[in-house]
């Protein structure tokens, strides 16, 4: 930059705010899928054609409408109790969304806080927190979750807490690593020179700079958490029936698979896969977009 223009501010030449939507690698389809699932979850009461929890035994094992014996009344068929599969899928989206997001946020808040404290304070605090994390990670996640679920009993709220407790360690590890490099940066040293307290520095200088990593991790964790929730429900220690969760549907439908009632498992399976795939693709994109290493800050 020449000497004459050095003091004149750089004109803001940033592209307009939303132009990134048109860029080539923008994950439009994953976002659309997640958007649709979220929309369906919010308006489940209006969208579902039937009550998801009450069926009529007269209408058991209807196949989807395009097969012989199917009717347009039950678009994706009915299950062993005559409940509409489509309605159950729609309400299941609500469970997956609520449990997935709250568990990820809960784990993120716990993990990020402990990661920042551990990384910034160092010393014995760091030792204690990181040894706890090591021990935590040595437990197989799913068995640990089943164990916890067996203790506190199954409910949606408990599932959120359990998944949060199982997955906070990943945030703590990654955030701590980031904090270790951040605290050697000059702006943190200058904050010490300016007389800021440790807590102020953590809140004002460290936290805003690790939020990006935490968000990227959260988007990648969303898939893991949804799978974990479905697994717990499948194993019967997750969302208690008759609440329609996708995992519960898989579990209920698994005997039917052998005798040709494939729609009971294939549809919820596809829903889980689509949601996990979308959140992973979104996470990959976010990582490139928000990674401080890749972006000039």
């Amino acid at each position: 930059m020449s000497t004459t223009t050095e003091t004149s501010l750089l004109a803001a030449q940033l592209p307009s705010r939303f132009s990134f939507v048109r860029s080539r690698d923008f994950p439009l389809i994953p976002l659309l899928i997640l958007g649709i699932i979220a929309f369906v979850a919010v308006f489940a009461d209006l969208l579902a054609p039937h009550d998801p929890q009450v069926g009529s035994l007269a209408a058991r094992f209807h196949p989807p409408f395009w097969l012989a014996g199917g009717s347009t009344d039950y678009l994706l068929g009915t299950d062993q109790l005559g409940r509409d599969v489509l309605s159950r899928l729609i309400f299941g989206a609500r469970v997956s969304m609520v449990v997935g997001f709250t568990a990820v946020i809960f784990a993120g808040v716990v993990g990020t806080t402990l990661g920042i404290i551990s990384g910034y304070l160092g010393g014995w605090v760091d030792q204690v927190i990181m040894r706890v994390v090591d021990a935590w990670l040595a437990l197989p996640a799913l068995s640990f979750a089943i164990f916890l679920a067996a203790i506190v009993g199954p409910s949606e709220m408990n599932i959120v807490i359990i998944l949060g407790l199982v997955f906070w360690t990943r945030y703590a590890r990654i955030v701590r690593g980031e904090v270790l490099s951040l605290k050697e940066r000059e702006f943190v040293r200058l904050a010490i020179v300016a007389g800021c307290s440790k807590w102020t520095i953590m809140r004002r200088h460290i936290l805003p700079n690790v939020v990006n990593s935490a968000i990227v991790l959260a988007s990648l964790m969303l898939g893991v958490v949804i799978i974990a929730e479905a697994s717990l429900s499948f194993l019967g220690v997750g969302v208690p029936p008759p609440k329609p969760a996708w995992g519960v549907m898989l579990s209920d439908g698994k005997q039917g698979l052998m005798v040709g009632y494939w729609w009971l498992t294939v549809f919820p399976g596809c829903c889980i896969m689509l949601m996990v795939l979308s959140s992973n693709l979104l996470g990959d994109w976010l990582r490139v977009k928000l990674d401080p290493q890749l972006r000039q800050l």
Binding site: M1, S2, T3, E6, T7, S8, L9, L10, A12, R185, E186, F187, R189, L190, A191, I192, V193, A194, G195, C196, T200, R204, H205, P208, N209, Q296, L297
Partner: protein, 330 residues
């Protein structure tokens, strides 16, 4: 009275141990360094990387605790200060660091960055704060609307101006400048150095100016300290020292700097080898393995600082009866 004084300042770092416990030892990063900074004056510290300049700065800023020796601020030893005294010290000593891309918090607005020391140490009202920020921006030559922008919207030189404005927000008595222009384009350097000099004249600031750029140090300083491997090898009045350096290391440093006139010819002294590891410094004079004028005594006995024609020099060449005559006259 000197604003700040360091007496026999020493900082040792424990060396990294090997897997089986071997290889311990200590790094003598700063070893018995003494200097004084007078009010309204600049003390320049020069030396190659690894000579302890930055550790000295960090000791002065209180980011590290000294292993030995003392730092006195306005006559009071830092170690013995009570809470109020330490607060006063924090407010009186601020810093500007080398890398303007790392020294501004990337997610804070300029106004918040500049105001942070004020908010932390005093409790000014909102309008008082914004008035002060505008005033500081004006002082360092930035427009008032810069206050609402983020650091990434500025160039390196502008960022360094912001860092200076922040350092000045508490009206400190001493500013530690740790290589404030090394990361900047040559064309910007002079601007920043002149800004620092103008501010010194206007506000009566004292500077501890640390750099490896001799020309910048000679331009800025009233007194120069030359360090090598944690020790002072020569110190003296800036003009005098840059005109007639006495220690072979200082002479080598000055001969490596570009002459101020293209026709000027000087004897070039090329130093061979690298700076030795401070984990295992050479015996005697730490400079003797690389010194073009080394004598047998240099490897055995450590020279002390002695007065040679107005400078303090730590070199056996100036011992009584030693064959060092003629060196000083180059």
């Amino acid at each position: 009275m000197a604003v700040m004084e360091a007496v026999g300042l020493t900082k040792l770092f424990p060396g990294r141990r090997g897997f089986f416990g071997g290889g311990g030892g200590t790094v003598r990063a700063v070893d018995g360094v003494s200097f004084a900074i007078e009010g309204g004056q600049t003390l320049g510290v020069v030396g190659e990387s690894g000579c302890g300049k930055t550790t000295t700065a960090r000791l002065v800023l209180g980011l590290e605790k000294p292993t030995g020796g003392a730092i006195r601020f306005e006559g009071c030893d830092l170690q013995t200060l009570d809470a109020a005294g330490r607060r006063h010290y924090r407010k009186s000593v601020q810093a500007v660091f080398q890398d303007p891309y790392a020294s501004l918090s990337p997610r804070m607005r300029i106004s918040a960055i500049i105001a942070e020391p004020l908010v932390t140490n005093e409790s000014p009202s909102a309008e008082e704060l914004s008035r002060r920020v505008r005033q500081l921006l004006d002082l360092v030559g930035l427009p008032a609307h810069a206050a609402d922008l983020f650091p990434h919207e500025f160039s390196g030189g502008q960022r360094q101006r912001i860092a200076i404005a922040r350092a000045l927000s508490l009206s400190p008595r001493l500013v530690v400048l740790d290589e404030p222009v090394s990361a900047l384009d040559v064309s910007i350097r002079a601007q920043i150095l002149n800004l620092l000099r103008d501010l010194q004249a206007e506000l009566g600031l004292s500077y501890l100016f640390i750099a490896h750029d001799l020309a910048a140090v000679a331009h800025m300083s009233h007194t120069i300290v030359v360090m090598y491997l944690g020790k002072i090898v020569e110190t003296g009045e800036a003009q005098e020292l840059s005109r007639a350096p006495k220690h072979p290391y200082t002479q080598a440093l000055f001969s490596a700097a570009l002459p101020s006139h293209p026709d000027e010819r000087r004897d070039e002294i090329i130093l061979s080898g690298e700076v030795p590891s401070p984990l295992n410094p050479p015996s005697g004079c730490r400079f003797h393995p690389r010194c073009p004028r080394a004598m047998p005594v240099c490897g055995v006995e450590e020279p002390t600082l002695r007065d040679v024609e107005g400078h303090l020099v730590a070199c056996h060449l100036y011992d009584m009866g030693a064959g060092g005559r003629g060196l000083g006259e180059t």
